[in-house]
């Protein structure tokens, strides 16, 4: 398996933070959204499998007291995929759950995102997906906020 440092990098290759950010956004997208994002960038979702998409486990770590020594809280299913483009770019995806198609599409997107010419279109599509997610999260937060308790103190007789 090639490491990130062995992945071909053209000049102008962004830092891993930007790639991580794009991968995170792709991870929140549905398979239909990923297909649409690739289509929007004029990309057919085809690539060579470096490793066929497979489902496995990760051990979820918590911390004692929330901030102390780690402990094993339980496992979660994760599906991963790794692909390579004819140009040599490798793409990866690791997602919670068991959806192999979704992981493979996200890996293809990750690989194409590393091509500077594809990046702006993919970033735009991912931004639109993220905006929809943010709106749903904002709505959920507003519903939770309505359940916040506002205490008031009753005036007492001796005052």
């Amino acid at each position: 398996m090639p490491s990130a440092s062995q992945t071909p990098r053209e000049p102008g290759m962004p830092d891993p933070t930007a790639r991580r950010h794009a991968m995170e956004r792709a991870g929140q997208a549905s398979p239909a959204e990923l297909l649409a994002a690739l289509a929007q960038a004029g990309i057919t979702p085809e690539a060579e499998d470096l490793r066929p998409a497979e489902t496995g486990l990760v051990m979820v770590r918590g911390r004692i007291g929330g901030d102390g020594r780690p402990f094993n809280a339980g496992e979660a299913t994760v599906t991963r995929a790794a692909v390579r483009l004819p140009g040599g770019e490798t793409g990866f995806a690791y997602h919670l759950g068991r959806d192999r198609d979704r992981a493979r599409l996200a890996a293809i997107l990750d690989a194409h995102w590393q091509r500077p010419e594809a990046r702006p279109a993919l970033d735009a599509a991912l931004a639109a997906i993220a905006a929809r997610r943010a709106e749903a999260a904002r709505q959920a937060a507003r519903k939770v906020a309505a359940t916040r308790v506002n205490f008031f103190t009753l005036a007492r007789g001796e005052d």
């Binding site: 901030d67 068991r98 359940t147 916040r148």
Partner: protein, 371 residues
Amino acid sequence: MYVAVKGGEAAIDNAHRLLAEIRRGDPAVPDLTVAQIREQMRLLVDRVMTEGSLYDPDLAALALKQARGDVVEAVFLVRAYRTTLPRFGATEALDTGAMTLARRISATFKDLPGGQVLGPTFDYTHRLVDFALADGAVPEPAAEAEPEADAAACPRVTDLLGQAGLLEPSPPDDGAPVGDLTREPVDYPADRAVRLQGLARGDEGFILALGYSTQRGYGRTHPFVGEIRVGSVELDFTPEELGFPVSLGTVDMTECQMINQFHGHGAVPPQFTRGYGLVFGQGERKAMAMALVDRSLRAAELGEAVVVPAQDQEFVLAHCDSLQATGFVEHMKLPHYVDFQAELDLVRRLRAEHAARTAEPDEPTLREAAE
């Protein structure tokens, strides 16, 4: 003693066919979908994820459907499934302080940054059966309000109290390997991390009863709920081939910080002690009971006498797993014909000896029960 006995294959096959038909119930009633279970029986799904020790809502919902709603059977299915999968590694430790909150309450501090947020709770409902639900009543939309400015950052209550030194700090992360009871058998005394792993996957009823026993006087710890928070937390994982952490997505979790009566010794001034609970999904009862028992199991560490079940780690950890417990209890219904035959022979011999000693006439010989 177990001896292979042939026969019964057709009966077993037909029993499973009958099970499948009975599981489906009245064909005139629409089939339950996995998505319906996942969405509308969510707390049950959460319990199966927690006790199955595997976060996967769709899988837990499917297991519940297959198990006809039997929690322990569903846990069995989930645990069996996980043994078929490779493990890719361990996540970065999740940060409950950065949780996107659906609920957050404290029974110890009324005014705290971020406020008391009730979220979706059964608390304060009247527990009257709502017959309108049977008629498919559509709920009115949830109320909405603009989140207050301090809602974005909700520090854990224990972080606030800890700053004043009134609360014992969490045990620091010393980078030591994290014990995993799914990989190595538990050695007693087990460290707190392994105990928490066992409690997290332990049966809710068992942990609840033990926690309750401490409240009733079998090892009092004088607990207060410092904080309960429910919400979604991001999981980060660093794949070897990437070398940087990627977000796997978010999981719903419930955390309980229990604050218990003071402790101090020698150089340590009196301070509150703590118990901790963390479970998948929304599982407040389990998280609270887990935090109570976590604190009880710290008895030896805190210089308290270990005298009651909830303080005895081997008693708790060896018996809290519903799958292990059900395996040993339920195996008794499998054929023990030969064992029982041996017992029958023994009791007959003893009775004969007894009869000879007391010189009373023996009772007529019964046909052997196992014949």
